[in-house]
Subunit: 243 residues, 2 copies
């Protein structure tokens, strides 16, 4: 049984740019303990990894212009390049499946919190690898054994608003599988798999805010266990009723 | 800017049955403070409200038998009665829109944590009203001004696992609307609405477990503000790309 959790914003990080040693910066700003879950907004991961694109460097294809509906078609071009498949479109809104398999608005391409107004931030090429590298760097810098989640804000079908979810993870099992356990009345919880990595990402978002530049939060008391990747959380096509 | 959050499991609640004064029981078990968000799993709300049905009292319709695929067709009958519309079916799996407008598996009908093995637990008739009543009762019992969320575990399109979301809420705005604010670079966050009530519900789930009988958690430090209902979180049909 889990005890109390603490969700702690990490303050004092500088503005992140390409090539920055994000792990060392987080290690210096946070007082990490063994078993902490460090949740990092993908924006700073992407910026450190140089996963940004300048609008001025993009040329809009005819499809991008069709989808732009009065917005900058070069932004749509960036979205198309990050998409494996378009799931729904209502120009200029695009819901896409990314090359990682995530289904989200604009294939994760975002202009908010970008380095400057002419730049878009993309998702990391491999957010699970990003999480693993950050975890290794945090352990090297602090000597603490922590888990790392890289998060993004996703919309949801049928519900308004976004919640943060895990798009990369290292050092914990993102899905807590209770199948086969029994509840207090003896009923077997045969379909209960909890997306704890997403709940952790959402909890971190509550202390972070979007406008105040606090991209990292630490969750203490969760006692992460197991191993796994955020890629595992993508619903396999054969089980997906909503493709 | 939000500071640190604490997510505190509330231990020592008795097994809940129809007619129990759930608010008074929570007030006695928790040490509430002003500004706390009390997240209550709908199961105990439904049980206190008598929103359960015995399989023995149900007769399966032909449609229920068609959908059962070898499972008990009376369970499917309960699901059909709770459904305004079936969204997807892969017997015996049913994704339905409830009479409240929520889209979820089995229209929220659940056999786990039921009073006994022959009983199903339904969603409250009006979970926002349930949250409001609980809030009033908590305030009467403790003198503290708190917010209340009634939660359930929902699956998501495209992603594996469930996360807890708010199906009822009182004393806070479930959606934090950042539209019109500017980030550090001056970019207007024109489409950023955060479903904080869902993130709070998910955070509470992290300390609750499914098998250990801790249906209530308190979130301290969030500083809830505004008013609203969980019903507001349902995507309006005209904006819903996934109906």
């Amino acid at each position: 049984m889990t005890g109390e959790l603490r969700v702690i914003p990490v303050r004092g990080l500088p503005e992140i740019g390409e090539g920055d040693d994000l792990g060392a910066l987080i290690a210096a700003a946070a007082q990490l303990e063994n078993g902490d879950v460090v949740v990092v907004a993908h924006k700073v991961v992407s910026k450190a990894e140089g996963r940004t694109v300048r609008l001025a460097d993009l040329e809009a294809s005819p499809q991008a212009r069709d989808l732009a509906d009065g917005e900058d078609p070069r932004r749509l071009e960036a979205i198309l390049r990050e998409s494996a498949r378009l799931v729904r479109t209502r120009p200029p809104l695009v819901i896409a499946e990314t090359h990682h398999g995530f289904v989200c608005a604009s294939a994760g391409v975002d202009a908010s919190n970008a380095p400057d107004l002419g730049t878009l931030v993309l998702l990391p090429v491999d957010p699970d690898a990003s999480a693993q590298q950050l975890r290794t760097r945090l352990q090297e810098s602090t000597g603490r054994d922590v888990a790392v989640i890289v998060s993004d804000s996703f919309g949801r079908a049928w519900r308004q608003g976004t919640t943060d979810v895990a798009i990369g993870c290292s050092g914990l099992a993102p899905l807590l599988d209770l199948r086969g356990r029994r509840d207090a009345t003896g009923y077997e919880l045969h379909a209960t798999v909890i997306a704890v990595a997403d709940e952790l990402a959402g909890a971190a978002d509550l202390v972070r805010g979007k406008t105040d530049g606090v991209p990292v939060a630490v969750i203490r008391g969760f006692k992460p266990h197991g191993v796994g990747t955020a890629r595992e959380m993508v619903m396999p096509p054969e089980r997906d009723l909503f493709r």
